[in-house]
Symmetry: C2
DNA sequence: ATGAAAGCGCTAACAT
DNA sequence: ATGTTAGCGCTTTCAT
């Protein structure tokens, strides 16, 4: 026990941080073997009340805290599921994370988050970090990783993808049905009597392509194919603003605009107001994602909600299932979006009916 | 390769995940000792080109990935700094995280994120997880943890706090000077000729008390003590809305409103518009935090910017310094806020000068 | 340049 | 109920 000065090594050297009491320190102080300490720590029954008390007291006094590193090494499991989030600025992922955390906690696992800041190189390092830490499974949220990299990871550990749609063996994928969401949007607008429904596109953004096809299909379904009008956009406020300006300066004014996400819808809202038009009296406007932005009373945007929390839960359940049943196959899980009607959409005044 | 049935153990048992090639597997395949493999993996010089090539090839073939768990155990360092974020929905912390990550990467450390979802119990578990994983240091962002808990953690490892202000030994604190920020806001407004400057308060929110004192002090400094008017609020949009409504229904209308954060400023904006008043022609409005909300062209709110990224960098540097120089004392670091002028504040029309 | 051996802090048999 | 022992996968002396 006498940790004499002699033990200290060379002067200025960043002294080895040999802090942290170990199971052996506790055993010594409690006067039992380290097995007993281990048993107490793991809550095993077969320990006499007196030993248990002695161990608890010694642990408390020494500020003992189990070393998960050592435990993981012997158990060859960490009970940690890694989550690589491409972008923590995106509230979408914050809510997915809630679902992930909840589902993990429910099963006795913990989540370990890492981020790539929208940079593929950093994302790969972040994933690698999780793998080296021997996370039992990994969820990739919004990853811009190459299929090759994801595939390699999947050979080590169960992987689930959220917000990207690679089809790889050993990789579960959870996606919102963006095609269906766009259909819901167009049907809502058409149901209000609109016929000139324009889309502000999302370019390369996640889900943009599906939303575009959904728009096309729903327009066709409503017999409005000739009215299809797709303005380029990029999921940003500025893109929405520019897109709407072009739309409003054209020959035939749309009576409704469906922006591919809330962000660009807010930009469009500005352009519409600047053009001296009112929403929804003159133009109906829709977004997509149901972000906090859309819920602002100031904006109160009709939009499409993605079940973000549930997406997270699904993804976590998928990897946990494969962690605990190594044989089972990975699947693709599709979740349904929902229409949220707020104040930016209204029935087309009859005088303007085509 | 032949994973024969015989290999499988007892029926339903979650088979031990003995995947993951080890250093020994690689050594065997490369025909060298594990020491050589270790040397190659760590990039040591003293290895013959031929051995190095053999090892690389074997590792590649086996999909070998270093086991950070084993490495950390022997090195007694993980080169991971844990970050417990109280709330990942708060964009504020996302930007702090950027600074944290950048500063860590610069010094060869990696960040490990964990979250408590605004729940003190979950926060404590999240911190505990980091400590058990033997993070070399921990940053607590927005923690609602008791001083006792933080103090106990600080006995194990260097800790830095962001967004809370406990003064404890072994705990660095990085704060934005909220008092000073509020002074900047009031001085800006007073400089535009405003005298009836009301505050919508932030209640118990982080920094609210400092902002309130700053407001008081600056009003006094401008000789406006009799005009001080503080309306209750809670940092939410709804709170800002209600606060502004009360302000506008009173006997003497304020010509400027300083909301304690951007969120409540947006609520106030709504109330002002509903009252038939225009911003900034009739009423000037300010927020605090310079969130994405304030930058929306639709809103374009004059506000106070906190150097979030820099806060993160500071906090990380503080813990890294103490990780590498165990003796050094923890400090309190105060960063300066900045005024961001946008379109919601204007000079008081002379006809309305008191 | 390479190998052998000890040991990091713990769990998991196996004894007793 | 408790102690003993053998590793988990790696790094780190220490030999050679």
């Amino acid at each position: 026990m006498s940790r004499s000065n002699v033990e200290r090594r060379g002067a200025g050297a960043a002294s080895k941080p040999s802090r942290h009491a170990t199971i052996i320190d506790v055993a010594g102080k409690a006067g039992v073997s380290k097995s007993v300490v281990s048993r107490v720590m793991r809550g095993e029954a077969s320990v006499s009340p007196s030993s248990r008390a002695a161990v608890m007291a010694a642990a408390e006094e020494l500020g003992y805290r189990a070393n998960a590193v050592a435990r993981s090494l012997v158990q060859r499991r960490t009970y940690n599921v890694g989550v690589m989030v491409s972008d923590l600025h995106n509230i979408f992922f914050a809510e997915v994370l809630d679902g992930l955390n909840a589902a993990a906690a429910e099963r006795g696992y913990r989540t370990l988050i890492t981020t790539g800041n929208r940079d593929p190189v950093a994302e790969e390092r972040a994933l690698e970090q999780l793998l080296e830490l021997r996370a039992d499974g990994v969820v990739l949220a919004g990853a811009r990783l190459e299929a090759k990299v994801v595939g390699a990871a999947a050979r080590a550990v169960p992987i689930a993808l959220v917000g990207s749609d690679l089809r790889l063996p050993g990789v579960d994928v959870v996606v919102d049905d963006d095609f269906r969401g766009a259909v819901l949007a167009v049907e809502h607008l058409a149901g209000l009597g609109h016929r000139d429904i324009a889309l502000i596109d999302g370019g390369q953004g996640a889900g943009a392509a599906e939303r575009r096809s959904g728009y096309r299909a729903a327009m066709a379904g409503a017999g409005l194919t000739p009215r299809i009008r797709i303005e380029p956009g990029d999921f940003t406020e500025g893109g929405g603003y520019e897109g709407a300006r072009r739309l409003l300066s054209g020959p035939r004014l749309p009576t409704a605009i469906f922006a591919s996400n809330d962000q660009s819808a807010v930009g469009a809202l500005d352009a519409i107001n600047e053009a001296g038009l009112r929403v929804p009296q003159d133009v109906s406007l829709m977004g997509y994602d149901n972000t906090a932005l859309a819920a602002l009373r100031h904006i109160s945007l009709t939009t499409i909600h993605q079940p973000r929390n549930q997406i997270g839960k699904m993804a976590m359940k998928a990897v946990l299932r494969r962690i605990e049943h190594p044989g089972s196959p990975a699947r693709r899980h599709v979740l349904a979006p929902k229409l949220i009607v707020r104040d930016t959409t209204a029935r087309l005044p009859s005088r303007r009916m085509a």
